[in-house]
Each structure stands twice: as C-alpha cells, then as structure tokens.
Subunit: 153 residues, 2 copies
DNA sequence: TCCATATAGTACTAAACTAGTCCTAGTTTA
DNA sequence: TAAACTAGGACTAGTTTAGTACTATATGGA
C-alpha cells in the first residue's frame, strides 16, 4: 500500500546526495558514480527535477546540478509532485459519473480526504529529514500537526 | 501519489454496501446489481475479503456474505492489507544490499518511517467513516493522534 | 573558430503490474 | 438430485513503469 515508484526513490537518493554538499556542483555522471544508480536514469531524473524547480542546472563545460533551495525548504510532497504528478488516490474521483452510484462516490470522497491529509503531512517533511541530515530531529517535534483529523472525514 | 488500486476502491464500495445493512445477507449478484460493479469482479473481491476475515460467507442455497465485524471495528488499514498486501512504500527496503550505498539506504529507511506513520493513522479510520455512516463525525475528534511525528523521522 | 563536455528534450522498447473474465470444484437446501 | 450459491485458480488484454538511445543546445577553452 501507499507505494512510491522506484524512480521517486532514486530521485530522493539523488537529492540527498546534493543536499549533503549544497555548494558543490555535481555532474550527472558524478552522481551516478557516487550513488551507483545507472547514468541514463540519473540524467533523466535530474532533468525532471530541474523542470520542477528543485535543482538548478548549468550547461556546457564545468556544468552540472545544484540544489535550488536549502534542503530544509524542499518537502517530500514537492518531490512526489515533481516525480509522480498530482495523482489522485482513486481514479474514480476525476470521472465519477459513469460508474458510480451515490454510495460509491461517497466512498471515493472519503479516500480523497485521506489523501489530502496525507499530502499535508508530507509537506511538513523536508529533504533534510529524508536525507538524515538533521542534527537533532526531536527539536521539531512541537511543530507536529495531526495528519488526519478524523472529524474532517 | 499514494494511489490505491481500483480494486481496493471497489472493495470499499462493497464493504460500505454491507455496512449499510449489517444484518442482511448479500449474494455476490445482489451486491453487483446494487453497486453497478461487474459481477465477476465483485465475486473475486468478496472471496479475497473473506480470506482475510473481513466478511463471513455462507455457501449453498440462500448463501451469501455478511460483514464479519461491526463497521466501526474494521479499519482502512485492514482493508488495504487485505487487498494490496503488506507492500512497502519502497521496493529497495526488502533487498537493499545490491543497489544501495550507505546514503541510499538511509533514504529508504526514512520513507519506511513515513509509511509506518501513515499506516498507523489508517488504522484509526473505520469503515463506518469511509462509508459515511457516522452520525456525528466531529465527536471522535478528540481521539485524533498525530499521523507523522516528525521527531520520529 | 572548433572541439570537448555538459545539459535538454523526446521517442522508443521491454518488463511488470492491474483489471477483468472464465472455468472447475465444493457446499447447502429444497 | 438439481438448483443456487461460494472457493480457488488460471488466463488474457491493457496499462503503467523502468530503462535506454538519440538528437539538439549551451558553454568554455585551446
């Protein structure tokens, strides 16, 4: 359940690598070597991350990639959006009319609420945490917000 | 992102139908007719739900299906487990040795924690809520637990 | 100016997964 | 024993995902 694709996982690995040395400019080949991910895949993912504004790129000789923002300002939700797009939790939600009776769509709406709540919490998780770069993870605990408020369901 | 499969969605629709009349015994054909889902699909899903103990079945003439427990005691997590199995959020987590360097696996572990936290909150959501059968949804609000405790990441 | 080294974008292929259907076996009751 | 059910598995078509290849574009140094 709640799977993320391999490519999204790879992208996180790449971003984590960039986050570890925020000032260094990495070529796709370097990242490939240092993460042991296939070079074409790394290239493809970096292009996609660039298109969504998560990394900065420089072309030409001595070109390469750089994190667009500090790792603490990149959320897990942004990474998922860049890689997987705004995919809904159920397919029925977009074209609900042709297959659903009333009770069906009620169910779909509930799943949507679950999805929305999960998204909101993913916005709270930063690349810094995903990459394991937080010095004291417990310090942010007081900012914790309930992911799913059951009353809203 | 965070998709559930069509079949899981259908299963929820079926369970919601059963939950609406907890004492009535439904045949697969009746559920198919009343939910407008294809009969073979409904059959297949009911068998799967039975195998995981979510519904009771009676064979033979006048047989059919019945919710195994009150809707309030069936969680969204149980439904997902029955339909999609204990799938991890990342594939790498199960066989991490052949493709990952140290930083890679750190990332995978973080995703696992996210997954676990999401699961825990899905355990709090009942079929009653998914089916929209709660009289006063706001009444359960005080039981709300944080889905993702950022300190645990 | 030309060439080596980068990224940008797109198109294509193979593999895996999902959804849906069908068939046969087993169970119960009239 | 026949009719009305569920149980289980196998099979197929369609879609999605992962991975690769190719061409175009940009930069900087010899």
């Amino acid at each position: 359940m709640l799977r993320i694709s391999k490519l999204t996982d790879y992208a996180t690995v790449i971003l984590a690598r960039l986050a570890a040395q925020p000032e260094r400019r990495f070529t796709a080949a370097q990242i490939s070597a240092e993460t042991r991910l296939a070079a074409p895949t790394v290239s493809k993912l970096l292009k996609q991350l660039h298109r969504h504004g998560l990394v900065l790129s420089t072309r030409g000789l001595h070109g390469g990639y750089l994190l667009a923002r500090p790792a603490g300002e990149i959320s897990a939700a942004q990474i998922l959006d860049a890689l997987e797009g705004p995919v809904a939790i159920t397919e029925c939600a977009s074209s609900a009319s042709h297959c659903c009776i009333e009770s069906t769509c009620l169910v779909s709406k509930s799943w949507q609420r679950v999805n929305f709540a999960v998204r909101r919490s993913l916005q709270e998780i930063t690349l810094l945490e995903l990459a394991g770069l937080t010095a004291s993870p417990a310090s942010s605990e007081r900012h914790t917000a309930p992911l799913i408020q059951r009353g809203s369901l």
